[in-house]
Symmetry: C2
Subunit: 349 residues, 2 copies
DNA sequence: TGACTTATTTGGAACGTTCCAAATAAATAG
DNA sequence: CTATTTATTTGGAACGTTCCAAATAAGTCA
């Protein structure tokens, strides 16, 4: 009794109709008479029928699985967690369900999970690619007609849609804010130089400096792992340069926190003795002491947006690769020294 | 050319064998000759074959879908994000893939996503139930032979496996630590009283107090939302009681952070003027100022453990409901006042 | 009433796999 | 050389849906 699955045929028998009719009501077809629909529905409820999407999906060839895949690099990073939630809300309310996997920046794992998801018949994929992902890696997917949306990091050369934040503009406004506070020696700290995101943010930094008439000094660009540990490492080097900087824009918030740690270890108070601004605006940024001035990128918004884009492509059947860059805004808190005391020029927050 | 799916039959034709043989190599059967296996594999690679798990799953009745569902209440809470990662790593390395959904404490959403996952044929479910989840809600699942593992919050009455942290012992050790620091008036702050977790933690608090020969004073138990905002609210009330407490154990870290905020708003320095200890040990706990003394529960460990338990049950075919409570440990940092200065009694950290 | 619509229902035949029983090929034994 | 294992391979027949063409029921019109 607890063994056999209840199938559409069981329903058909119990309701004195054909399997086809049952199928029709399952799909909410308008062809079926209201009375029969009611009866069939009743029987379904009574017998505890559960739809077998796998079987259905087998028949209707196309990508109607209503499953989308989501692949991120690091779920424990609240940035990606928020992103996943953003995806989840739109995916869920569209009646889809999501596979979610974590690659931990491992390109092998990424390959594996994507392959696995594909075997399971995802009808679309949202991915924040692991570092050093080959643009060709998603070729087979799109060739098979499975739309792919790349988020956060773009994949130059890949013919897929992508949605990234405006890294350039964001970093530029961070620099301008610091300039407005009177800083002239501003460092760029953290991040791996082999990524597109790094390039964009660095470009923003450079533009910001040049726009302010300040020289771009390579000695002030210090890359490191994009982590807290990387941050302390970077600030250590920064402080050692001859004409010591008085402020820094950081690759991301994790680096910025590390920079604060490193400053304190040297008896310098972030905000007061050295201005630091981050990038991402993770939730901790607000709660930290000092609260971190940072460029807010609304990861949840990116998630929502990416999901919408993906669903649109899934429904459209064909995927026009489109690229959107989302706006960012500087949110001024305490770590830049502008604090409550001197709300001098509050960026465009 | 980019239209038709490559099927097992195409492979069979191209390799001059029968579909059955191809199926055999797919399953890594030892029946098939090494030479043919090689040839078939080669052809598969060449034609870009992708396994259709849906079809396979249709045939092999049982729950061999290699999909498990994961449902959490709040992914943006790093506690749950870590938990999900823990699940992910074991699930992934077992060759499974996970549906992950967020309920945001909505019981309707929970119902929906679980139903959806079931339609998709999950072979098991890990769920941190939304508040006020009915124990009977998962009855149909287990009746259908789908193992369910409840994590973090237990569901008294439901005949499912569960894995929760030792809330009672954790809170007790927190209290004992404060007692050891000389506190006598210790409050219990935050949390909704209608949950099993609340009951357990409160019981631990009570035992701790009584074990120390201190009276249990109901006026010192102040519930609130288990959030930062709830924390500031709770500390407000706590400070207003006649014989004002000098320390507090909090329902969770979020509440503890709120309590710190509330203290500062009243010109009291957490750690120095009032001792506060949290519960969970979220990542921010370490980085906060003052660093939070808290009970560490290793959410990632719970995730891993829960996943292992689930996989075991899936493989076993039958699900013995088992309950495990995982050990917790107090990690002493600064917010309790024991700080660097006085490492007096460091709990069992 | 008979012919023609319109509304509803219905048997197969797919879909891509796995499983079973049975066929074939090769090897060994008598 | 036939009988018997042993090693491989192989045709269907499932699995639970959806789709199609076609059947039936019920009106409608002369």
């Amino acid at each position: 009794m607890t063994k056999a699955r209840v199938t559409v045929i069981d329903i058909a028998k119990a309701a004195n109709v054909s399997k086809s009719t049952v199928s029709l009501v399952l799909q909410g077809s308008s062809l079926v008479n209201e009375a029969t629909r009611a009866k069939v529905s009743a029987v379904m409820r009574e017998l505890g029928y559960v739809y077998n999407r796998g079987a259905a999906n087998l028949r209707q060839a196309g990508s109607k699985s209503r499953i989308i895949g989501v692949v991120v690099n690091d779920l424990t990073n609240s940035f990606f967690a928020e992103l996943a939630v953003g995806v989840d809300v739109v995916v869920q309310s569209a009646g889809f369900v999501q596979f979610l996997s974590n690659t931990g920046e491992s390109i092998d794992r990424q390959r594996e999970v994507v392959a696995s998801m594909r075997e399971h018949g995802i009808s679309g994929l949202i991915v924040s690619p692991a570092r050093a992902t080959d643009a060709a890696d998603f070729k087979p997917l799109v060739a098979a007609g499975i739309p792919v949306v790349v988020v956060v990091r773009n994949l130059p050369g890949a013919k897929v849609s992508s949605i990234v934040s405006d890294n350039r503009a964001g970093m530029m406004s961070a620099v301008q804010h610091l300039v407005g506070l009177g800083h002239k020696r501003i460092a760029f700290l953290g991040g791996f130089p082999d990524t597109a995101v790094f390039d964009d943010r660095l470009a923003g930094y450079r533009s910001g400096m040049e726009a302010a008439g300040l020289s771009y000094d390579e000695a002030l660009v210090i890359s490191s792992a994009p982590s807290r540990a990387g941050g302390v490492e970077a600030i250590g080097k920064a402080i050692a340069v001859g004409d010591r900087p008085t402020a820094a824009v950081c690759f991301n918030d994790a680096v910025a926190f590390g920079v604060c740690d490193g400053l304190r270890a040297r008896r310098l108070e972030p905000g007061a003795d050295f201005a630091v601004v981050g990038f991402d605006d993770v939730i901790e940024a607000q709660a930290a002491v000092p609260a971190l001035t940072t460029v807010s990128v609304d990861p949840q918004g990116i998630g929502r947006r990416g999901a919408q884009m993906l669903l649109k492509q899934i429904n459209a059947g064909k995927a026009e690769a489109e690229t959107v860059t989302t706006a960012v805004r500087l949110v001024v808190r305490e770590s830049c020294g502008a604090g409550k005391a001197a709300p001098a020029r509050a960026g465009r927050a």
